[in-house]
């Protein structure tokens, strides 16, 4: 039995760590690339969304490396996610791969227990304490990387030498990924926080503040959104993003079952315009716009092409009373980097002018 799994941003870090610690035979599929996308578009249904295609591509590449047991998320949402595991299993069988799909729920029931059961099953019945320890270790790495990444959002637009932040962050990711113990992760986290903070910054920098919202997969997978965060950073824009996998884990797996609702404020803000959960991250996208209309300069809304919830959100978003410029970028396999950069540049110009105008009228908080 050899385990394979799809990529989704930096989710591979905790999964890889957990599988390694449990002594399971596994492969990490090559980072999502043009080849992954080509393979995926060849075998996927034509009109399906980009996350389905990319994760299928990863699974095909895992199979090529000899994986025969694949992990994939499923659930009953109001979006196609619930169909991913089922559909991809069928496609892989049609391609001639004799694989088994291990599905774990990300939307219903006790998700934490579900995850632990999956790991128990694929590890050949490891003891519960062992599973809890390895998951904790894996998640501490995820938390460390996510924390450093949100720090880079602040530093990148202010750095003196372009690209320095990216360099340090790349080193940090690699080091944390390969850390051997929990204490080492903590040490690395502290060390790289200091290193990021000591990157020379321009004193006169006055970056725009732009929020990133949308469908979680395309927001967190740099390949699918063509590195929108870094491109914005290059343009001198500070990115703010609420979504991250460590936050998802923290709330969905641990705190939501205890009755904590991290989106309460956001949903309340969305209420006048959208009264119902429409699945995916649509409700949150609308709420974030209303909530941050005074403290962000603009918002980038990312969604896969034909995404069900985000299209509803997009339609509603442009009609809220609270004014905040929104750039919706729909991600699919036809997207080109040059086109996107042009749109981002134009958006940043617009935001700069708007801010100057609002400041002169004294209407802006920052």
């Amino acid at each position: 039995m050899r385990i394979g799994f799809p990529h989704a941003g930096n989710v591979y870090i905790p999964i890889r760590t957990a599988l390694q610690e449990l002594g399971v035979d596994f492969v990490v599929p090559p980072p999502t690339s043009k080849r992954t996308l080509d393979l995926a578009t060849k075998y996927s249904p034509e009109g399906v969304c980009l996350p389905f295609k990319l994760t299928l591509g990863n699974l095909i590449e895992s199979c090529e490396l000899g994986a025969d047991t694949l992990l994939q998320a499923q659930g009953f949402g109001v979006c196609r996610l619930g169909y991913y595991a089922r559909g991809q299993e069928g496609i892989l069988h049609d391609m001639g791969y004799n694989i088994e799909m291990v599905k774990f729920s990300v939307s219903e029931g006790n998700k934490l227990l579900g995850f632990m059961r999956v790991f128990k099953r694929i590890s050949g019945n490891a003891s519960w304490p062992k599973i809890i320890m390895t998951l904790r270790f894996g998640l501490s790495k995820l938390n460390a990387v996510d924390e450093l990444e949100s720090l880079t959002h602040k530093i990148r637009p202010r750095e003196e030498k372009r690209g320095e932040t990216n360099q340090v962050f790349k080193e940090a990711t690699l080091a944390i990924e390969n850390a051997a113990s929990h204490s080492e992760v903590i040490r690395l986290r502290r060390e790289y926080t200091k290193r990021l903070q000591s990157i020379p910054q321009r004193k006169d920098a006055d970056p725009l503040k732009v929020g990133i919202v949308g469908e979680i997969f395309v927001v967190l997978e740099p390949f699918s959104n063509l590195d929108v965060e870094r491109e914005l950073g290059k343009l001198g824009v500070e990115v703010v993003r609420t979504l991250s996998y460590s936050r998802w884990v923290k709330y969905s797996l641990f705190l939501n079952p205890l009755g904590v609702d991290e989106w309460r404020e956001v949903h309340k803000k969305a209420w006048p315009y959208l009264k119902r959960d429409i699945g995916g991250d649509g409700w949150e996208s609308v709420g974030e716009k209303v909530l941050h209309s005074r403290d962000w300069d603009g918002m980038v809304h990312l969604a896969p092409f034909t995404c069900l919830p985000e299209i509803v959100a997009q339609n509603i978003m442009s009609h809220t009373r609270e004014d905040l410029p929104v750039l919706t970028i729909l991600c699919d396999e036809q997207m080109g980097r040059a086109g996107m950069i042009t749109r981002l540049e134009a958006f940043a110009d617009l935001l700069k002018r708007r801010r100057t105008k609002l400041r002169s009228e004294g209407l802006l908080r920052n």
Partner: protein, 314 residues
């Protein structure tokens, strides 16, 4: 009398008899918008973002055409019709979206249909009835009548082999021809002659008997869905996978044509399942994708070619 506007789009074809019975019993007058025209479509397309699917654009056009003709517009939010089977986000957010993109529209009559939350469903239906009466028993009676006429409507179509447009609009369709084709897809695509460029009469004009999902019994559709996809995932999966699977498996038709809207999320995966099944069973199958740019000539060519192929194969 209070006038309630019903857009002739989306769920109209599936539930109109139900809605009519409900509002009739509560003493409201129904105003149904006219059939889709170019102007209706254009006014809808102008309001929503380009990525939105064509049927929703058409729906918005119908809502706009009802402005000034009624006191309320009925826009239900259908979340699920059975447990663990959900609907597309566009149906869920329909009232919110309508309000956002058409701010000048009359007040909306909203009702949340979610079979997973029975208690909230009752209060939601009562809240809808409150617009017309204070008597909960009257609302209850209206709801019962509504369910009853929905059942009759569905049963009649299966029994008599009729399409919604025959029952609702009194059209009559020919039942003789040299070959037969099953047309599967959502009712708002199959029975809106503007959207599908008169697909049914086009097929009949070529001497083809057209069978539709409404002519298959609920049990047969459920079984076929189960065989093909391991049970429903989407609310209106039966009328696509269930009906399509049934017609392909039974072999009572010479070919199957499925119709989907461009960019439709649920259909993008359902048509793929159907496509793979038809391939496995070696049955003629084609999928027509419709949107506001679909040209009539292109569609006609594809349909004619498919019919030719089906006839040659026999």
């Amino acid at each position: 009398m209070v006038k309630v506007g019903i857009p002739r789009a989306l769920l109209y074809y599936e539930y109109y008899p139900m809605w009519r019975a409900f509002f009739d019993a509560l003493g409201a007058e129904l105003v149904v918008s006219e059939s889709t025209t170019k102007d209706v479509a254009a006014s809808g397309v102008a309001r929503v973002t380009a990525e939105t699917c064509f049927p929703v654009k058409i729906f918005m056009g119908h809502v706009i055409s009802l402005i000034g003709k009624c006191d309320f517009i009925f826009v239900p939010a259908v979340r699920s019709m059975e447990e663990k089977v959900h609907n597309c986000s566009k149906f869920l957010g329909l009232p919110d979206m309508t309000r956002a993109v058409i701010p000048e529209c009359p007040p909306l009559l909203e009702v949340d249909i979610d079979m997973e939350k029975k208690r909230e469903l009752y209060s939601s239906v009562y809240a809808l009835g409150r617009h017309f009466t204070w008597n909960p028993l009257k609302v209850r009676r209206a709801a019962k009548l509504a369910l009853q006429s929905h059942g009759e409507y569905k049963a009649r179509m299966v029994r008599e082999g009729k399409t919604p447009s025959e029952v609702l609009e009194g059209k009559s369709e020919q039942r003789d021809g040299s070959s037969s084709v099953a047309l599967v897809g959502h009712p708002y695509l199959l029975y809106d002659d503007y959207v599908n460029h008169r697909l049914i009469s086009r097929l009949e004009g070529q001497g083809v008997i057209v069978l539709t999902p409404e002519m298959v019994s609920q049990a047969d559709m459920k079984q076929a869905t189960h065989e093909l996809a391991g049970g429903s995932y989407w609310t209106y999966e039966d009328e696509v996978i269930g009906a399509g699977g049934y017609y392909i498996k039974k072999g009572v038709v010479d070919g199957v044509i499925s119709v989907m809207a461009f960019g439709c999320g649920p259909d993008s995966v359902m048509m793929h399942i159907l496509d793979r099944y038809a391939r496995r069973e070696r049955r003629p199958y084609t999928c027509l994708t419709l949107d506001e740019h679909t040209a009539e000539a292109g569609l006609a060519t594809r349909v004619e070619a498919f019919i030719d192929m089906v006839r040659k194969r026999r």
